[in-house]
C-alpha cells in the first residue's frame, strides 16, 4: 500500500497535463513573462508556461489578483436603479503559485468571510483549483524569502489542491492534496504517465532550509510588538519610506480596498460602483474629510502596515501573522525597506 497519494511525472508528462487542462476548457492562469518580470496571466498554449523560470523567479505581483482583482465593479446603476453584479467565475486552474502564496490565500479567506461573506472573492475561490510548485529548486529561495520565520514552509501543501516539486533533473513529484485536486487530475490525466511514489515534497525540507539567509523566527513577535509602538528605533528604520503603495499592492495578503463610483462616459446617471486596491501606506488612506490625518507622518503609516501584519491580524483571527514571508515587498520597495529587517532590527535580535 502506498502511504501518500503522490506520483512521479516526467517533464513531458507535465506538459501533457497542461495541454489536457487547456483541452478541457479550463481557464489556465500561470506565471508568464512580461518584459523582465513574471506575472499571472491567462495561458492559451502549453508552451507559454515557463517552467524553468517560474521555479527560479517569483512573480512581481502576487496571485491574490486572481481572486481580488485590482479593480472590479460591485454594482451597476442606471438612474435610480441599482443592479447586482455577479463576478465572472469560469472554472480556473491557477498553476505555479508558491507555497507562501497558497498559504496567503488561506489567511485572506478569514478576512473575506469574517463579518461579511464577500461573494466576489469566495465564488472565485470556489471555481479555482490551485496547483502549487514547492520551492524545491536550487534557485527558488532567494535572500528575501523568510516563510520559515512566519510559520510557513517552502514545501508545505496547505492552501494547495495539487503540489508539484522537483524530483531530479527531468521529473517532478505530483501530490494530490484535496478532493478538488484529485478531480482535476482525474479529468486531465489521459496520456500522462504517473508512476506511484512514496516520496513527498516535504522530504526535501531539511536541504532547502540551508538556503535561507533569513532564519529568525517572527512567530512570537506579536507579543512584543506593542512595546515598540512608539519606539524611536522603529521611526528610524522606516524614515525613508516614500509612501508609495508598492509593498501593499504586491503583497499576497494585503487586502485593503477603496470604493468609488465610476460614471460611464457619455451617459447621464449611468455607471458602476467599483472596488479598487488601496494601501495603508498612502497618506490619503486615513485622511478625514475635514483635512485632519491621524497618521500624519509616513513612518506611522509604515508602522500600521507592520503592526497589521504581525500584531493585529494574529490577535484578531488566529495565532498566525498576516505576513507569509514571500519577500515581495522588500524585492520591489524602491528604497530598500524591508519588513523582516526592520522588525528583527527593532526587536533587537540582530540583522540578516
Amino acid at each position: 500500500m502506498k502511504s501518500y497519494n503522490s506520483s512521479i511525472v516526467t517533464k513531458q508528462g507535465l506538459k501533457q497535463l497542461i495541454e489536457n487542462i487547456l483541452a478541457h476548457k479550463y481557464r489556465l492562469l500561470a506565471p508568464k513573462k512580461s518584459g523582465e518580470q513574471l506575472s499571472f496571466e491567462t495561458i492559451l498554449r502549453a508552451e507559454e508556461v515557463v517552467l524553468n523560470q517560474l521555479l527560479r523567479t517569483m512573480t512581481t505581483l502576487s496571485p491574490k489578483e486572481v481572486f481580488f482583482p485590482r479593480t472590479e465593479p460591485v454594482l451597476r446603476y442606471t438612474g435610480q436603479e441599482m443592479h447586482d453584479v455577479e463576478p465572472p467565475t469560469p472554472e480556473t486552474v491557477l498553476f505555479g503559485i508558491r507555497p507562501c502564496d497558497a498559504r496567503g490565500l488561506e489567511l485572506l479567506d478569514k478576512v473575506f468571510t469574517w463579518d461579511y461573506n464577500d461573494k466576489f472573492y469566495l465564488k472565485r475561490r470556489e471555481a479555482t483549483t490551485i496547483v502549487t510548485f514547492a520551492c524545491s529548486d536550487q534557485a527558488s529561495v532567494d535572500e528575501h524569502c523568510f516563510c520559515l520565520g512566519v510559520g510557513g514552509d517552502p514545501t508545505a501543501s496547505s492552501g494547495s489542491d495539487l503540489l508539484l516539486s522537483t524530483n531530479g533533473d527531468d521529473a517532478f513529484l505530483l501530490e494530490v492534496i484535496t478532493e478538488k485536486g484529485e478531480r482535476l487530475l482525474n479529468s486531465c490525466k489521459e496520456g500522462v504517465e504517473l508512476q506511484a511514489s512514496d516520496k513527498r515534497a516535504a522530504d526535501q525540507l531539511e536541504a532547502i532550509k540551508d538556503r535561507f539567509v533569513r532564519k529568525q523566527d517572527l512567530t512570537e513577535v506579536r507579543h512584543k510588538m506593542p512595546e515598540y509602538f512608539d519606539s524611536d528605533q522603529l521611526v528610524q528604520e522606516t524614515y525613508r519610506c516614500l509612501g508609495c503603495g508598492i509593498c501593499a499592492m504586491s503583497c499576497p495578503t494585503c487586502h485593503c480596498f477603496d470604493i468609488v463610483d465610476e460614471p460611464k462616459a457619455g451617459t447621464l446617471g449611468e455607471g458602476a460602483r467599483v472596488k479598487n486596491w488601496d494601501a495603508c501606506s498612502f497618506a490619503l488612506f486615513t485622511k478625514h474629510a475635514g483635512g485632519h490625518n491621524p497618521r500624519e507622518l509616513q513612518c506611522q503609516r509604515c508602522r500600521q502596515r507592520y503592526f497589521h501584519k504581525l500584531a493585529y491580524y494574529p490577535q484578531k483571527f488566529s495565532e498566525e501573522s498576516l505576513c507569509v514571508g514571500c519577500g515581495r515587498c522588500s524585492r520591489s520597495c524602491p528604497v530598500g525597506l524591508d519588513i523582516y529587517q526592520a522588525v528583527t532590527h527593532v526587536l533587537g535580535k540582530g540583522r540578516a
Binding site: 512580461s34 518580470q37 479593480t71 525613508r240 503603495g245 477603496d258 524602491p334
Partner: protein, 269 residues
C-alpha cells in the same frame, strides 16, 4: 567633492556648527546594499557611504514634513540629483540658503534600470547632447498613430496605481495631487484602461520642462512601465522649443510655468 571622506568631514562640521539640522545621504546595511539615511548626530557621519549602487535621488526627501522639521538641511547629491535640487530652487520650493549640497562625482555605473546608462550629467554642468533613449523614441515616432496608441495602451495596462512614480519624484511636490481631487474628480482613480491613460499622461504633462530625467520613476515602477520614454520625449521637446533644460540654472523657472509675450507659440494650433 571627490571623495566620501571629504563629504563626511563637511557633514560633521555642518552638524557640529549647527549650520544644518540634518544630513541626507547614503548608508550601508550590514554587508548589504546602500539606502537613504538621515543623520542628525555629528558622531554618526562615518555612516555615510558612496558606491555605485547609490542610485536613489535623495532630493525627494527635501519636501517630507518630518525632514523639513529639522530646519536647514545638507544633502549628498550626484550630478543628476543636483539638477533636482536646483529645479526645486527655481520653482521656489526651497530657498538656496536652506540647503547645502554635498556634491559627489559619480561614475554613473549604478544598477538602477537604465537610469545610469542614459545619464547625461556625468559632467554635471555640461549635459551631453544625446540620450540613448532617443533611438527608442525615434522608433515610436515612426509608428503610425494606431500603433503608437497600442504601444502606450500596452504599457499603461499594467499600471496598478501604486503611485510610486509620483512618490519617488522630487518634482511631484503638490500637496494634493490632481488624482486625489474629487470635487470634481478630474482623473479616475481606477486602474482601468481609461483611468490609467489619464493618470500616466497627466502626470507626464505636469512634469513638462520640470522633469530632470533622473529616471527614478521608471526605476521604481514595479511593473516596468516605460515612463523614461515619455519623460525623455517631453524633456527633449522643451529643449528644442524653448532651449531649456530643467535643473541647470537655479534661477530659471521652467518655461511652461511662466508666460512671456515673445514665447514660442507657433506650434500651438
Amino acid at each position: 567633492m571627490n571623495s566620501i571622506h571629504e563629504v563626511r568631514e563637511e557633514a560633521r562640521k555642518l552638524l557640529e556648527e549647527k549650520r544644518v539640522g540634518m544630513v541626507i545621504g547614503y548608508g550601508k546595511g550590514k554587508g548589504k546594499k546602500n539606502y537613504p539615511i538621515f543623520i542628525t548626530d555629528p558622531q554618526k557621519v562615518e555612516e555615510l557611504h558612496f558606491e555605485s549602487d547609490c542610485f536613489y535621488n535623495l532630493a525627494v526627501y527635501l519636501r517630507k514634513p518630518e525632514v523639513c522639521s529639522h530646519g536647514k538641511l545638507a544633502i549628498v547629491v550626484k550630478g543628476c540629483d543636483a539638477r533636482s535640487v536646483r529645479g526645486l530652487f527655481s520653482e521656489n520650493q526651497l530657498k538656496s540658503e536652506e540647503v547645502v549640497m554635498l556634491e559627489l562625482k559619480c561614475d554613473a555605473k549604478g544598477i538602477g534600470r537604465d537610469k545610469c546608462t542614459t545619464c547625461r550629467v556625468k559632467n554635471p554642468l555640461t549635459p551631453e547632447e544625446k540620450n540613448p533613449i532617443d533611438g527608442e523614441i525615434a522608433k515610436i515616432l515612426a509608428m503610425p498613430m494606431e500603433e503608437r496608441f497600442r504601444f502606450f495602451a500596452e504599457e499603461f495596462k499594467r499600471c496598478i496605481r501604486c503611485y510610486a512614480c509620483r512618490q519617488i519624484c522630487p518634482h511631484c511636490f503638490c500637496k494634493t495631487c490632481i488624482v486625489e481631487k474629487s470635487e470634481p474628480q478630474w482623473i479616475s482613480s481606477t486602474p482601468s484602461p481609461l483611468g490609467n491613460w489619464s493618470w500616466n499622461f497627466t502626470r507626464a504633462f505636469h512634469l513638462i520642462g520640470r522633469c530632470v530625467e533622473c529616471g527614478e520613476c521608471a526605476r521604481a515602477c514595479p511593473v516596468g512601465i516605460r515612463l523614461d520614454i515619455l519623460n525623455r520625449y517631453l524633456a527633449k521637446s522643451v529643449e528644442e522649443k524653448y532651449q531649456f533644460i530643467a535643473g541647470m540654472d537655479e534661477k530659471a523657472a521652467p518655461p511652461l510655468t511662466t508666460y512671456k509675450q515673445n514665447d514660442n507659440q507657433d506650434f500651438i494650433r
